[in-house]
């Protein structure tokens, strides 16, 4: 199966452009066919006309390759594009067993205030392992799974990005 697939939440659909003349596009998303007028009007903003309905939709890269944050008024979606390369990488990871790695990553950018564990420690799911501070607020983070700490990738005082890996479990 070589078609491109889109994933948002639990939903995965294949997509295919059937016809395209300038802005006017006919495409199939899953079982549905759409005839629409789509044009990128600004950096990160698309204007869509579906029938006569006008949609103004913003899109930015989510930081992960081929994954986009999409927003329409107050509705937000995280959409992953699954192309041949993605599938290849996923399969490779699966084959090597590396998708089993458990990484606790930072849900927000901030400063590491306290690391409660060190390599070799046993942690149980729900245990607080790290405290991160940002914008005058401290947040404690729990491990989602149980396991042995393989590596602690940050030290107290470090400044980290959102989604930065903090602790590797095995």
């Amino acid at each position: 199966m070589s078609a491109i697939q889109l994933r948002t939440g639990d939903r995965t659909e294949s997509i295919e452009i059937l016809e395209q003349t300038g802005n006017k596009v006919k495409l199939r998303l899953g079982e549905k066919e759409y005839q629409l007028d789509i044009v990128k009007v600004e950096k990160n903003i698309f204007s869509l006309l579906l029938g006569n309905k006008s949609y103004n939709i913003e899109v930015v890269s989510s930081g992960k390759k081929n994954t986009f944050s999409v927003k329409y008024i107050c509705h937000s979606f995280n959409v992953q594009i699954i192309d041949a390369e993605t599938r290849y990488m996923q399969n490779r990871l699966k084959a090597s067993g590396e998708d089993g790695v458990n990484i606790i990553s930072s849900p927000m950018p901030g400063k590491i205030v306290k690391v409660m564990v060190k390599p070799g420690d046993k942690v149980i799911a729900g245990q607080i392992v790290i405290t991160v501070s940002a914008m005058k607020m401290e947040s404690e983070y729990k491990s989602g799974k149980s396991g042995i700490v393989k590596e602690v990738m940050v030290s107290e005082g470090d400044i980290v990005d959102a989604n930065a890996p903090l602790i590797v479990l095995e």
Binding site: L36, I38, K40, F46, K71, Y72, C74, S76, V79, I81
Partner: protein, 503 residues
């Protein structure tokens, strides 16, 4: 008149102060930490001086560095904004000892109002009501009953040694009081080994209502009516409005007079705010005085027309107040929504980061006071408030609808913000009807934090847009219509042009 002002602050309030200075023809000096070189206040000011590393404790809170910056730049006044050093009496003294104007009240006023006990005592002497209660431990049951009768129902009985809810009893009527006292005492005894209690008036559905005051050094003090600030999350205001939906003309006059009395009792000079707690019977109690500009000052500016920063500067320059009380009235209705860089669906977790795209609302009755821009990276070191939207309407209904429209127009991509959460508030019938108190967010959790409902079509469109963005990034449609800059004939002409000069 003051000629050059150093703004000892950052973010939206620094930019807002610079705007008024520009309109007055006053030069401005920004100060900035390592994290703020690209911040808008540095760009908007006439001058900018570096004052140290990113943490506030090593930059914006270091008094000597601020004063040194004022000396270097030749600023003849310092505006502290809000937060940071704005309510620091020692800083006010240091600044004035340097012969520099501190735009704010005397250090004595700051000190008196900064201490809760002294403030409460001064208010009582000035005839401003405070939350009634016993201020001494009571062990005797009869004495407790008498205190309750003096205070009036409902009351809260609290263990003197207490904490964590132990020995606490809420009493709504006399028939419950004896039982409540004895059980509270015994629980207190069991928990803390001390059965003494104290009793406070219980404010069941409180409103946070504050009055803006302005006072010059010649003893002229006026109030600029109230602001209703009851919509709060984690004790932080997020939506404010004026007039308050529960205010009456006579109550406004009465509370306004008390606010003036409160300011006068500490010989207040400049702009200040008296915060009150108001119960559902419209009894009001002094809470505290903020001896600086408030975040929510723009709603007062909008309905009264008075530029509060300009008035602060004029007062600090030694001018007489240009307004008397009879000049001040509320025209229409104004609402402010505070935009935070945070994730409301995730316990309001901070969300600093890079602003990838921003589209601000515009049009009639809309004001935006912000400081972030496309390409700006919000630092992790400071307050998560990034902007404020203020809407005005001839009626409250119009202001609410305009706020909804403005929040719909407001897009910030790259970080999480409270914009959608605020939009939901504007759609809750109780908010629309002005029927709310400080419990609002808590009471409407389900509606405010519920997951989105939307037509399936919307999700499809989102997926399609992601797909086209992916295609464009992949270069698949580089010369197609989605390409932003040039329509086809233009590309053609450009090519001709190029050839011509190269042939």
């Amino acid at each position: 008149m003051i000629k050059k002002i150093l703004i000892a602050n950052r973010g939206e309030i620094a930019v807002r102060i610079i705007r008024s200075c520009r309109e007055m023809g006053i030069k401005t000096v920004a100060v900035f930490s390592d994290a703020d070189r690209k911040s808008l206040h540095v760009r908007y000011a006439d001058e900018a001086i570096h004052i140290g590393p990113a943490p506030s404790a090593e930059s914006y809170l270091v008094m000597d560095k601020i004063i040194e910056a004022a000396r270097i730049s030749g600023a003849d006044a310092i505006h502290p904004g809000y937060g940071f050093l704005s309510e620091n009496a020692q800083f006010a003294d240091l600044v004035r000892n340097e012969g520099i104007v501190f735009i704010g009240p005397s250090s004595e006023s700051i000190r008196l109002m900064g201490d809760k006990i002294s403030a409460r005592n001064i208010m009582t002497q000035a005839g401003v009501p405070v939350v009634p209660g016993t201020r001494e431990k009571i062990s005797d049951v009869e004495e407790a009953l008498e205190a309750i009768n003096n205070i009036g129902y409902p009351v809260m009985i609290k263990a003197s040694a207490g904490g964590g809810g132990k020995g606490m009893r809420l009493v709504f009527k006399e028939s419950e009081s004896l039982q409540a006292i004895t059980s509270a005492k015994s629980e207190a005894k069991a928990s803390f080994g001390d059965d003494s209690v104290y009793i406070e008036k219980y404010i069941s559905s409180p409103h946070h209502i504050e009055f803006q005051v302005l006072a010059d050094r010649f003893g002229n003090t006026i109030h600029l009516c109230e602001r209703e600030c009851s919509i709060q999350r984690r004790h932080q205001k997020i939506v404010e409005e004026t007039p308050s939906p529960i205010m009456t003309e006579s109550l406004r006059r009465e509370m306004g007079e008390k606010a003036i009395a409160a300011a006068r009792s500490v010989n207040y000079e400049g702009a200040g705010t008296i915060e009150f707690l108001v119960d559902d019977k419209l009894n009001y109690y002094f809470l505290e005085m903020n001896t600086r500009l408030q975040v929510e000052h723009p709603i007062t500016e909008r309905v009264t027309g008075v530029d509060l920063v300009k008035e602060q500067i004029r007062i600090a320059s030694g001018e007489k107040l240009a307004y008397s009380q009879s000049d001040i009235f509320q025209d229409g209705h104004a609402i402010e929504c505070r935009i935070y860089a945070e994730d409301p669906d995730n316990n309001f977790m901070p969300s600093p980061g890079l602003i990838k795209k921003i589209t601000e609302p515009m049009g009639f009755g809309v004001r935006v006071d912000g400081y972030v821009y496309e390409g700006y990276e919000i630092p992790i070191h400071y307050d998560p408030m990034i902007s404020k939207v203020i809407t005005w309407g001839k009626t409250r209904d119009e202001a609410v609808r305009r706020m909804r429209r403005s929040l719909e127009e407001y897009y910030i991509m790259g970080i999480k913000t409270s914009i959608d959460f605020l939009e939901k508030i504007m759609e809750i019938p109780e908010y629309i009807n002005g029927e709310y108190d400080t419990h609002f967010i808590e009471l409407h959790r389900d509606a405010l934090f519920c997951s989105d409902h939307y037509p399936a079509e919307i999700e499809d469109m989102a997926m399609i847009v992601a797909f086209f963005e992916y295609l464009e990034n992949a270069g698949a449609i580089k010369n197609g219509s989605s390409h932003l800059n040039f329509s086809n004939w233009k590309m053609q002409k450009r090519k001709n042009n190029f050839n011509l000069f190269r042939h």
